[in-house]
């Protein structure tokens, strides 16, 4: 895939995470106005590729499942990566039999498929889908975020999303968040709150984002709790988001919304050193409504 992807997901290779990939795809497809039939093909193929990582890549153990989506004009490119065994790169369409029917399905649905071995272990499946959608996303430039710590893969509970340009998050994050909130047993009205929070947060970020900004959001899920972490952001940015954008008189920033929704928040340094930037963490509980 040339250049940086528009959406990058880093997940654990758990079966339930394949749903997150599909939700991200659905969200992106909505933005691109992808034809339902085309989306169905993409979803089916990508699901197969992800299932392969879930079932076979780590020989029963856990490891990362990485998915990258790019939408240059007239196409949708999807890359599914593992750091384990993955699909045997020497497996051709005809020969591949041990990986189930996944690969034939992918070959049947994508216009172009490439399998690659990664140095140091792992496999990439790159799928190219031609779409009739007139919409496309800018190819993001190099990541100009502060050099803070990359989201860690330490906890399999954490889903990490990186998007560029930043507004792409608007099509992907709300869906991801709903799926994760559902997993955390949130009641549906609280899922609505989570979506409102995400949408508001992203709107405010869009207002202040530079064109080629990459935005990273990690979501930590535990039963009845979600923690959303944004960043690394430039130093001072998180506080600006929270308090006030300054121009509008009645704009008090995010704080009133956070308070109304009962959301805890915290600004922290993203790492050591001056250039590391900061993160904004917001914590949402299901409100204790379910005893």
């Amino acid at each position: 895939m040339a250049g940086n992807p528009n959406v990058r997901l880093r997940l654990a290779n758990r079966p339930e995470n394949v749903l997150l990939v599909r939700q991200a795809l659905n969200g992106l497809a909505e933005t691109l106005r992808l034809d339902a039939l085309e989306l169905n093909d993409v979803t089916t193929a990508v699901t197969e590729a992800c299932n392969n990582v879930v079932l076979h890549a780590y020989g029963g153990a856990e490891g990362p499942l990485e998915v990258e989506l790019s939408a240059p004009a007239g196409s949708l490119d999807v890359l599914v990566r593992d750091r384990g065994i993955g699909i045997r790169p020497d497996a051709t369409r005809e020969e591949h039999s041990s990986g189930g029917i996944g690969l034939p399905v992918i070959h049947a649905l994508a216009q172009q498929v490439e399998l690659r071995n990664l140095d140091g272990g792992g496999t990439e499946v790159e799928m190219h889908f031609t779409t009739s959608s007139g919409r496309s996303l800018d190819v993001p430039g190099n990541d100009r975020r502060p050099s803070g710590a990359e989201p860690s893969d330490a906890s399999p509970r954490v889903a990490a999303l990186t998007v560029a340009p930043a507004p792409v998050a608007g099509s992907v994050l709300p869906r991801l968040l709903s799926a994760l909130a559902a997993r955390a047993y949130f009641p549906s009205d609280r899922i609505d709150d989570a979506q409102t929070l995400a949408e508001t947060l992203l709107t405010r970020i869009d207002d202040s984002a530079s064109a080629d900004e990459h935005l990273t959001i990690t979501i930590d899920v535990a039963p009845h709790n979600l923690e959303l972490k944004l960043g690394p952001l430039e130093s001072g940015r998180a506080s600006t988001l929270l308090s006030s954008a300054g121009d509008a008189e009645d704009d008090a920033g995010l704080s009133p919304l956070l308070e109304r929704l009962g959301v805890g928040h915290e600004v922290a340094l993203a790492g050591a050193g001056a250039g590391a930037g900061e993160t904004l963490a917001v914590r949402l509980a299901d409100g204790g409504r379910r005893g």
Partner: protein, 269 residues
């Protein structure tokens, strides 16, 4: 595992002398070279689960499931007719694209894409009604799982429906068609876990006998998942283990089945 000699009596009376029934290549030869329709039927029967399984993939549409199965079966027939057994590649890798191609053609011809939003709208309405009803009955908003159970849809469909509700909140949706028995209600929970089905359908007819060799709990989990069509979560609740354990059990049981049936290693066919 039964040997080939124990089976033929059960088979079609048109084929009294089917000593090599298990030999897939022989079946293809009998049909393609000698025009024995019984051999074709045997192949069709063997791979019908694959066609059904692929039809299921598209089953979230408003299209009646049985129609999709018909189309998939037609694709399967075409694949059986055209497959070149001499090339030594597995039949599935040829059949899957053929079946999917047939289904896509059908969808285009029948304007299926046009119907999809309608199905989505109906589901959104159903979910919204359920949300309100449960809130009224129980005094608290339902979780997604509770909603899924209530409207008999998968979690993912409920999530999509909720997204649609949010998007169309101000737009009035079409009135739902009354009383539709939703085919999709039994399609598993779509959390990426329906895909074990694929593994299962690949293991052809020998599965039934191999099942007997599995430990009772594995058998139970397989039965609940594939015969009673319960979701992993439901199975977990029923037998009192976690969903992840169910997932692992299923994976292991399928792996064992693979070994027991010798599938799909080519050398054993």
């Amino acid at each position: 595992m039964p040997t080939t000699a124990t089976n033929p009596a059960k088979r079609s009376s048109n084929a009294p002398n089917y000593g090599a029934l298990d030999n897939q290549r022989t079946l293809f030869e009998r049909w393609q070279t000698h025009g024995e329709s019984a051999a074709r039927e045997a192949l069709l029967e063997r791979y019908l689960p694959l066609a059904r399984s692929l039809a299921r993939r598209y089953g979230r549409s408003s299209e009646p499931f049985e129609d999709l199965v018909q189309v998939a079966s037609l694709g399967l027939l075409k694949a059986i007719d055209r497959f070149d057994a001499e090339r030594g590649s597995p039949f599935q890798s040829f059949a899957v694209p053929t079946i999917l191609g047939e289904m896509r053609r059908y969808f285009r011809d029948s304007g299926w894409a046009v119907h999809v939003p309608r199905g989505a709208q109906e589901r959104a309405l159903k979910v919204r009604d359920a949300q309100e009803r449960i809130l009224n009955e129980r005094g608290e908003s339902p979780t997604v799982n509770q909603l899924a159970e209530y409207v008999e849809l998968g979690t993912e469909e409920v999530l999509d429906a909720m997204q649609a509700i949010r998007a169309y909140e101000t737009v009035s949706l079409d009135a739902p068609r009354p009383g539709g028995e939703d085919e999709s209600s039994s399609f598993g929970d779509w959390i990426g876990s329906d895909d074990e089905r694929y593994e299962l359908v690949e293991l052809d007819a020998t599965v039934a006998s191999a099942l007997g060799e599995l430990p009772p709990r594995d058998r139970l989990v397989l039965r609940l998942r594939f015969v009673e069509d319960l979701t992993q979560t439901e199975i977990a609740e029923q037998i009192g283990i976690s969903q992840m354990q169910v997932s692992r059990l299923l994976r292991r049981a399928l792996e064992q089945l693979r070994t027991l049936t010798g599938a799909p290693t080519e050398a054993t066919r």
